[in-house]
Symmetry: D2
Subunit: 244 residues, 4 copies
């Protein structure tokens, strides 16, 4: 069964989160995502709402009966996240930062560990294994694309990776098609493909007004696209589950 998680690249306001949360509830999606410190490539852009954003995320999620996931920007950021969110996403750049991974392993929240764009499946598994061995039994892996010579999409999803990870481990695999594509017009086909291939989770950038998003707008689904994707998801999911 594939768990969908969705929300804005950057939390901007209560109103934004509410509109997105309402759409999630409408489609039976149970996890609201949102970040409060900068994740991506623009040093001059919006730098996030910090703790205020986490408070908003918690408040709206509670009101709508949702769980929350947020990315941990750096070690100093961890205590704050632990306080507010249900699941912690670890960015690919920390994949081999074993000191930080140790700290992550020793806090109680489940972890979603992102493969770095230059790392092999094996390197992801070594780091996941380290988290497990250091004491956190709840670890999932996130595929968000690897760097290749093709430039139509920001990164290339390694389509065979989920099946490979499932064969080599018992870890759940989540896919982040928005970060990989870098553009929303590829997200639906990528999402359907990953779902049909067999994955445990799908993490989507979703924005109520992506053209005016303060961060990562180009890769965020519109609410309309989200509904279209969930329609397709609802048709695909029962078939895919039958295949086991």
């Amino acid at each position: 069964q594939c768990v969908v998680m969705a929300g804005p690249g950057a939390i901007e306001s209560r109103r934004q989160l509410e509109r997105i949360a309402a759409a999630l509830v409408d489609r039976g999606v149970r996890v609201l995502s949102g970040n409060v410190l900068p994740r991506y490539d623009n040093p001059y852009g919006f730098q996030g709402l910090g703790e205020e954003g986490l408070q908003m995320l918690r408040e709206i999620a509670d009101r709508y009966g949702l769980m929350t996931i947020s990315e941990v920007a750096n070690p100093a950021h961890l205590p704050l996240l632990v306080q507010y969110v249900d699941l912690i996403r670890v960015g690919g750049r920390h994949l081999k930062d074993y000191g930080f991974l140790r700290a992550l392993a020793r806090q109680p929240k489940p972890l979603l560990l992102t493969r770095d764009p230059a790392s092999t499946i094996e390197e992801s598994l070594i780091s996941a294994d380290f988290l497990l061995s250091e004491g956190n039994p709840h670890v999932a892996l996130c595929e968000a694309g690897i760097r290749t010579f093709e430039t139509y999409t920001r990164l290339t999803l390694d389509l065979a990776a989920p099946a490979t990870i499932r064969r080599l481990s018992h870890l759940p695999v989540v896919v982040d098609p928005c970060s990989a594509a870098g553009r929303r017009d590829r997200v639906l086909p990528l999402s359907r493909a990953e779902l049909a291939s067999g994955i445990d989770g799908l993490l989507l950038d979703l924005h109520d007004d992506p053209d005016h998003a303060l961060s990562d707008g180009a890769q965020a689904l519109t609410l309309e696209q989200f509904h279209q994707l969930m329609d397709q998801f609802d048709q695909l999911a029962p078939i895919v589950e039958r295949w086991g």
Copy 2:
């Protein structure tokens, strides 16, 4: 609607082709593939049956009411292929061999042009365009994986490529998951994924006894896997078609 094409990496015998053709007919697959000159990486292996193999392919295909596709090994091989097969596959290594592409454009059979593992989508489109402009109106593109640093699979399927090609052109897109994966245990998830993403054709290596195949056995589906994949295909295809 996604057209399935399947057959052995190398044609070995009438008996082999008959068993495979019977399986295709059983599942409503209409195109039998098979090669008669070496395609791949082993210079010391089986070197193919040559014209005798093409005769077998034609004969069995006619008996079972199937169309045929075969890869053209080099320019000297072309006249023979034109005589025997319905569709001609052009390997990635010829992608920029414009002299040869001109000859291919000037014969009447439809062409399936394979992207080279080191070529961009744009470079594929330039070559396809050249074929069209030189006079062959029947050109489809084949994605068979690009070379990346990940080594669990031989090549990495660029999952976003079919959607990108469809957006930039009107050319049909076929995917060859067996060559990309290099191992049969990844082919089912890759095939389902590509089908759900939206493609026009699927080209499969299929062998009645892949463990004893004279060529490319590791990446060929067994008959049992083929039936399993076609079961999944039959469930997915009607849904995917609805999405257009």
Copy 3:
């Protein structure tokens, strides 16, 4: 003029540093490098000496009249480094960690910013530019290899990068051939090549007993290789300088 910097991947003991420092002084090398927190791929290996190691580095460097460079493991590590070292190396995984880069820009020590194995030259330049604009005028870039499909070496040095960076900016370029190669038997040809191509600095892993190194031993030069490389360096450098 190309500045050589050399030292152990991990500082292990005073005795180790002294033997290495003596070799540096013997060859006119002016910068001693050494790390005290884990940099690389082995979570189960030696985890570094921490502040004790920095004290050793400072003490030995002072005794031998050398400058020091060390890699900053994470933001919490920065105040300690600022206290003890002359130059701070920033690892590739922090290349887009703009919060941390801001902190690095606002401390007084010169910075050596490493290109991430999945980042383009342009992305390196954007981050360097950010450091400059945030207030640190002393920034150099470090090429330590990019991830490609070739696996004989850990990473592939992008040989054209120094010339490209020099054309696009005024930043000095340092090359780290040991991290790129991952094996000491390729370091001499790589170093000579980079020197002849035209670079501003060379950062070498050097160990007095690499077969028993606690970290990164496979890529560290022996003292004998170091002397051999410096012999070649002494022959090449005057010629290269003439070319400007």
Copy 4:
């Protein structure tokens, strides 16, 4: 000792070849290169002079006492080349075309086998080994760049490859920096680097008027750059030879 080979991407006229040949003789370069059928990426560009070009190449080379090298475009082209040139270059796209490699192995001229941009060192060595085992004892390998995500240069030279090939085999290694860079302003640093690293040959695109070249002009050295490179070469070569 590093052998320099140089000439135009495409042979255009006697006058062109004469001006280039004169420059070669002036600098002690002994091998004139030039192609007569299209090598590269432009299907709409100049398609080469064919046999007439080979006659010119032979005639000018004889007049100036030079040897000749030319790339073989396809199997049908081989008999013509054998008749006119001293060395045959085999493009990367033929690296695994074992039928063609067998024909190449069975003709008497020495071969320069180019690594494909998507092929590993190991795959190059397998093909070189095949040429040797099929009967041609004169095989050298040519590094002309591999495809990576960096786009400032057309391809990335795998700087460690020559040292790796020399360690794994006894085959000479030639480097083609112009094809790899795709732009002449990187060729001097790349050439000096490869020379200092240790190679057996350097193959250069050289044109008397590259801005008006009919093919590959952007990557061809001007005569002025050629003289500048040869000046540097003359300073470097004696030192490099001493290192063995």
